[in-house]
């Protein structure tokens, strides 16, 4: 830049002494272009890895995916192994988890957003819930192991689907509460005041107006939370999901396996045949997740139009 320096008039030189104002625009603009490329590439890296991951599991897993794989029990022979009990276990888990966590989560959110006064106790609960969302999932597994499996086996019969579902419910409760609260918060106060002005009680306003209006947001958050529960493996391993099971679960108190657990068990096997089975299991898990997420998007679109 020294060559340019000579051509400048003294006025510019004076401001240059401060070092802040550099007029060499061509160099700076070239850097701007480089920077734009850099940030764009950074944004794309994640998406490229995602694409590679999806292609990789599809190439590994899809050839092994068949009706027989879906309807068979696990076996010591990789080629005969299937995911039937794990798939049923996952469906049982997610259904029970939804039954437990959705009413609890929406109830807690309505209380915190519509009833609770702004006291230190409410603020403590809020901080607490946002903290719970950051607790590693395996810690929830330890909680479930300590309480549901070992302290209350008379209720849950120990290492059962119910214990697993209760553990997963506590895990996703903060996500549901946070999503529902955010949905309630976006509703203008005029709706509430209009209701009160007509003589409706707090609960009547909530039931007839606030809950229907908050539904799309709450629903999306809930289904995202449930799909997280479907993919969660760590807490279930700790609360005793079985890795090798040769019967389909019969009820909430039955022993069980789940898709991620089955995949983990196959990955841990040294024989290469089981790696293929694991890949097929991964594809099955991703398909289940894709289905639940599409349902979430569809429901949100449907309700958003109505409101």
């Amino acid at each position: 830049m020294a060559t340019e320096h000579g051509t400048r008039n003294p006025q510019q030189d004076r401001s240059e002494q401060g070092g802040l104002f550099k007029t060499s625009t061509s160099g700076r603009h070239a850097l701007d272009w480089l920077f734009l490329i850099l940030v764009f590439v950074a944004t794309m890296i994640g998406l490229v890895v995602l694409a590679v991951l999806l292609v990789d599991i599809a190439v590994d897993g899809v050839p092994h995916l068949s009706w027989k794989f879906i309807t068979s029990f696990p076996s010591v022979i990789p080629e005969n192994s299937g995911i039937y009990p794990a798939l049923l276990g996952s469906l049982w888990l997610v259904a029970l988890t939804a039954l437990i966590s959705v009413p609890l989560g929406i109830g807690a959110a309505v209380y915190l957003e519509e009833y609770a006064a702004d006291t230190w106790l409410t603020r403590f609960i809020e901080v607490n819930i946002s903290n719970l969302a950051g607790v590693p999932s395996i810690i929830y597994g330890l909680l479930g192991l300590g309480i549901f499996v070992n302290l209350l086996p008379s209720v849950t019969s120990g290492e059962s689907i119910l214990s697993g579902a209760l553990t997963l419910s506590l895990l996703i409760l903060p996500i549901i509460i946070i999503a529902t609260r955010e949905a309630l918060r976006t509703i203008p106060n005029a709706v509430r005041e209009g209701g009160y002005a007509l003589g409706a009680t707090r609960w009547e306003v909530i039931r007839s107006h606030l809950l229907p209006m908050a539904l799309p947001g709450a629903l999306t958050g809930t289904i995202l939370a449930l799909s997280r529960a479907i993919g969660e493996a760590a807490p279930l391993i700790v609360v005793g999901a079985a890795t090798y099971i040769t019967f389909a679960p019969t009820g909430p108190l039955s022993n069980y396996s789940a898709l991620p657990i089955q995949i983990f068990s196959w990955i841990s096997q040294p024989q290469p045949g089981f790696q293929t089975a694991a890949a097929a299991g991964v594809v099955a898990l991703m398909i289940v997740l894709l289905l639940t997420n599409s349902v979430a998007v569809m429901l949100r679109n449907k309700y958003q139009k109505r409101v």
């Binding site: 700076r28 603009h29 850097l31 701007d32 920077f35 850099l38 940030v39 764009f40 950074a42 944004t43 890296i45 994640g46 890895v49 995602l50 590679v52 991951l53 599991i57 009413p103 609890l104 929406i106 807690a108 209380y111 915190l112 009833y115 609960i125 901080v127 607490n128 946002s130 903290n131 719970l132 950051g134 607790v135 590693p136 395996i138 810690i139 597994g141 330890l142 909680l143 192991l145 300590g146 070992n150 409760l173 509460i177 003589g199 009680t201 707090r202 609960w203 995202l224 799909s227 997280r228 993919g231 493996a233 760590a234 391993i237 890795t243 995949i263 983990f264 890949a279 991964v282 898990l285």
Partner: protein, 313 residues
Amino acid sequence: MAVNSEQSAQSKDGLWRPESRMRHFREWAIKILLAACAYISVSTTFGIVFVLLFETINFFREVSIVDFLTATTWSAAFANPQFGIMVLICGTLLTTVIAIAVALPVGLLAAIYLSEYASARWRRRLKPALEVLAGVPTIVYGYFALTFVTPLLRDTILPSLTIFNALSAGLVMGVMIIPTIASVSEDAIYAVPRSLREGGYALGATKREVATKIVVPAALSGIVAATVLGISRAIGETMIVAVAAGNQAHLTANPLESVQTMTAFIVQVASGDTPTGSLTYNTIFAVGSTLFVMTLILNIISYLFVRRFREAY
């Protein structure tokens, strides 16, 4: 229903239902019910603390707390067990450092692109696409790290890599954390007031200069919060390291070797048969307590930083 004469006169038109005891009772019952929901959620925290504390105290009845914190070997499963938690913490930090080395630059640059450069349409499409990365089950990432990333690195640049290693687990974990860091940083960057940017342009700064010298410093507390949150995620991440980093609990800083993290140890013990109340059983709770305390501190730090950037403008 005990209604006085003034109220019953009004109730004739049917729409106006006067305050009845039934209605009051229903309102009260519903409020109690909803409050119970909120308190159950909060009791989870107490449940966690209670369970961890109870079993950890049992653990320290048999193992000295000084040994736990200072010993440099971890051999919980052997005949003469040694419990040096530093070994597991070291393994955890190694994978975490690798993950953050990937996720922080990539996530931050992506956040700058999304908030400063991308058009509203691109932003609407790219953000959910990036969020998908956070929705992929971690067992799938574990499979990917073990069967794709490790072989790829071995065949290309690192032939000395062992099958189970901290490097691929850390790299893949980094990719998983990108959306966390990107979205929290982006919120912070987006919250920087327009006037600061315009002031920069008025002084003749280019877009890059505004982004890197004005916007990023102004959003720094949010970016710190995002990073701390990312670290906390990486420390608590389980399945990727359990699958791809192996179960060799030894003190090393070499990312090409197998390490055992705190979470991987818990999985290793829990997937075997461990009788309730045995020392090994208590050990996973002691390790879990350590993990819980570490992530709790990080989450609180992150929370304080987030609050700071929310209050600043």
